[in-house]
């Protein structure tokens, strides 16, 4: 993985053959605030990348822009198709197509999990599969396999409110994994957890990359979380300042 400023981008040229996602010169403003300024980022298969920076530095905006949640004012986000069958420029897609893209290619884990409180744990995990057109039985079976893998066997019928914070986050990880996504995006996934639970959730999150060709992107304030990632991107005032 490499993360560069605009001027540094050409120096990453040697790695362009196998990148999974390439973000080029992304800029985004909210009113008078320049949240993102010519940010470039490449993601490679199997890598875990931490994005760090103070509040308001643009790290969440960068994650949202490369995940197709928001559209950048300038720049490109290019994603390689599976089996190297071509490239897709996410920034040129309509809102509806970006939704479809997120559903098919990405998984998400957020600070509060952003799970659906009305649904049971297994329904939350099965939801992306149902949206993709899977049958109920198949979707629920896969959801329960996911719960089992994450040590939550037997909790499938529970509502989100009946789970602990750590359990809910592991449900969110299972949901993110259920469609076998190309990239998993996590925004402060351990932010609301105690240190022990945070460690467990981080273990589960990093394990999603074990033996898989997917990338993991984690936005975090926590240096300990960043230390366990393969690479750290540091942001300030909407710009990528440094990488490790």
């Amino acid at each position: 993985m490499s993360a560069t400023t605009d001027s540094q981008h050409s120096r990453a040229g040697a790695q362009t053959l196998d990148w999974l996602l390439r973000a080029e010169n992304l800029s985004k403003a909210f009113g008078q605030t320049q949240a993102l300024s010519k940010a470039c980022l490449d993601l490679y298969p199997g890598e875990a990348v931490a994005i760090m920076g103070p509040s308001g530095s643009g790290k969440s905006t960068l994650l949202h822009a490369i995940a197709g949640i928001i559209s950048a004012d300038e720049g490109k986000v290019i994603l390689r198709r599976p089996d190297d069958e071509g490239l897709d420029d996410i920034t040129t897609l309509s809102e509806a197509k970006r939704s479809a893209f997120r559903l098919h290619r990405f998984g998400f884990v957020f600070q509060q999990g952003m799970l659906i409180p009305e649904l049971t744990a297994e329904e939350n995990i099965a939801l992306p599969l149902l949206l993709l057109g899977s049958g109920r039985t198949e979707a629920v079976q896969q959801a329960n396999s996911g719960l089992e893998r994450l040590g939550l066997a037997g909790l499938g019928e529970r509502r989100i409110g009946q789970l602990s914070g750590g359990q809910a986050q592991r449900v969110a990880i299972a949901r993110a994994l259920v469609t076998d996504p190309t990239i998993i995006f996590a925004d402060e996934p351990t932010g609301s957890l105690d240190s022990r639970t945070a460690e467990e959730v981080l273990d589960a999150l990093l394990a999603t990359n074990d033996g898989a060709d997917r990338a993991l992107v984690i936005v975090t304030h926590d240096e300990q979380v960043a230390a366990r990632c393969d690479r750290t991107v540091r942001m300030l005032d909407g710009r990528i300042e440094a990488t490790r």
């Binding site: 009113g31 809102e95 509806a96 479809a100 098919h104 957020f110 659906i116 329904e123 149902l130």
Partner: protein, 447 residues
């Protein structure tokens, strides 16, 4: 904390400004329709005839339309009070007591309602001229006949404002105000077999009353008995409705592979009472429309047959006026329901924005999000209409049977009208699609 600090915090802005505008609109519409209903009722009451049916029509009109109007006014006030959750929590955090926060919220809701009522009252001055297009007792209504007595004109607005205040207060009783946030107290409806048996018994007694009611009882007794029967059955529906809605939603949630239906069903299970309340005005309209429409169909057959001779001129005129009343009843009810749906759905989108943003992020298309919201409302509305129609058909079995046999076109018309009502509800939900689009596209979504 000083009052000026509190006022600063509750000043409407952003999404709460949208809700404030909605509350103003709903209060205005409620006021306007309340004046219209009372003017029409007085016109029926003052017809120069001794025909007891006119008295029944006048009282029924007020009785049947005031309920949905009160529902609309109170639902809006409740939602407005509850949707200020973040500000209320901040006030608690800053040291205001729970009682004081409630007083501030109720005051705000009441002041906005008063402004809406004032606007509605001003516009109601045009009503006598608009209602003049209608004919009662064979004559077009004269504006002079429709002006309300001054004491009534003065009494209605404060009554509506007081109702909004009380509703806001009751709405806030359902939420727990803490410095860390506002939570809704939720109670899942329970229905014991004893209650179910009581409901069946009430329905049975109502059937008996409806079958034995006659002119000979006199106007006052007839009105009271019919009103009690209708209220009792509506009470039964209000008790059984949320339970049935919850059971059916539960059954669907466990089986469906349609994610939009799954979310809609689970959402109903979470709060079946609220879901039922949204459709309760439609249930009332259906419940009244079935026997009223059947009776009109039967009377129409008589009017167009040789048996016309058995009807007096007064009865023939009243028959025409009953038709006017049913049309007014259905129109106002559907308008009220559509308004209520639009308001509750707007508030729901704003209150549940985090849920919709979460669903959008995982890739649920906006059209599916909207479909899920629509299903949540229509699933309940369908049950309300079908349930009320069955209850009404049981209650007025002979009337419905006679109408089916003698005037099937009237029965068809009733079905078409109810279908239009259900479509109008869908339209009410669809009208709030832009609110969801705004929530999903808000700049804060990227922060």
């Amino acid at each position: 904390m000083s009052t000026s600090a509190a006022l600063l915090l509750i000043r409407p802005s952003g999404t709460s400004a949208t809700l404030t505008r909605l509350q103003l609109l709903a209060s205005g519409v409620t006021t306007l329709l309340t004046f219209a209903v009372i003017m029409l009722a007085i016109a029926f009451w003052n017809t120069p005839t001794n025909e007891v049916g006119y008295t029944v029509l006048a009282v029924s009109l007020v009785g049947l339309l005031i309920v949905p109007l009160i529902t609309l006014g109170s639902a809006t006030a409740r939602l407005a009070a509850r949707s200020r959750d973040d500000r209320l929590a901040t006030l608690r955090l800053l040291g205001a007591t729970s009682a004081r926060v409630r007083r501030i919220a109720v005051t705000e809701v009441t002041v906005i309602a008063a402004m809406g009522v004032l606007i509605g009252t001003v516009f109601s001055a045009a009503l006598p001229f608009v209602l003049g297009l209608l004919t009662v007792y064979g004559e077009p209504l004269q504006a002079a006949e429709l002006w309300l007595p001054w004491w009534l004109t003065v009494a209605i607005p404060p009554a509506l404002v007081a109702l909004a205040g009380i509703s806001g207060m009751l709405g806030l009783r359902q939420v727990m105000l803490s410095p860390l946030g506002v939570r809704t107290r939720q109670d899942v409806p329970r229905l014991s077999w004893l209650r179910l048996l009581a409901a069946v018994a009430v329905l049975g007694i109502a059937v008996l009353i409806m079958q034995t009611a006659s002119d000979g009882w006199g106007a006052v007794v007839l009105i009271i008995v019919l009103a009690v029967a209708v209220l009792a059955v509506m009470g039964v529906l209000g008790l059984v409705g949320p339970f049935i809605v919850s059971r059916l939603a539960h059954s669907r949630a466990r089986k469906t592979a349609d994610p939009t239906r799954l979310i809609a069903s689970r959402s109903i299970i979470d709060n079946p009472r609220t879901a039922w309340q949204e459709a309760s005005a439609l249930a009332l309209t259906t419940f009244v429309l079935i026997p009223a429409g059947s009776m009109l169909g039967y009377l129409d057959t008589i009017q167009n047959s040789a048996s016309r001779e058995i009807m007096t001129t007064d009865q023939l005129l009243m028959f025409a006026d009953a038709r006017t009343m049913v049309i007014a009843l259905v129109t106002v009810s559907f308008l009220v329901v559509a308004c209520q749906i639009a308001i509750t759905q707007t508030a729901a989108v704003i209150e549940r924005r985090e849920l919709y943003i979460a669903l959008d992020r995982i890739g649920m298309p906006a059209k599916d999000l909207n479909r899920s919201r629509r299903l949540r409302v229509t699933m309940t509305a369908n049950i309300a209409v079908i349930g009320s129609a069955i209850a009404a058909a049981v209650l007025a079995f002979w009337m419905v049977f006679m109408a089916l046999a003698t005037a099937p076109l009237f029965v068809l018309a009733i079905i078409i009208v109810l279908t239009v009502g259900l479509l109008l509800i869908q339209l009410g939900v669809t009208s709030t699609n832009p609110v969801l689009a705004r929530v999903l596209n808000a700049p804060t979504r990227g922060e």
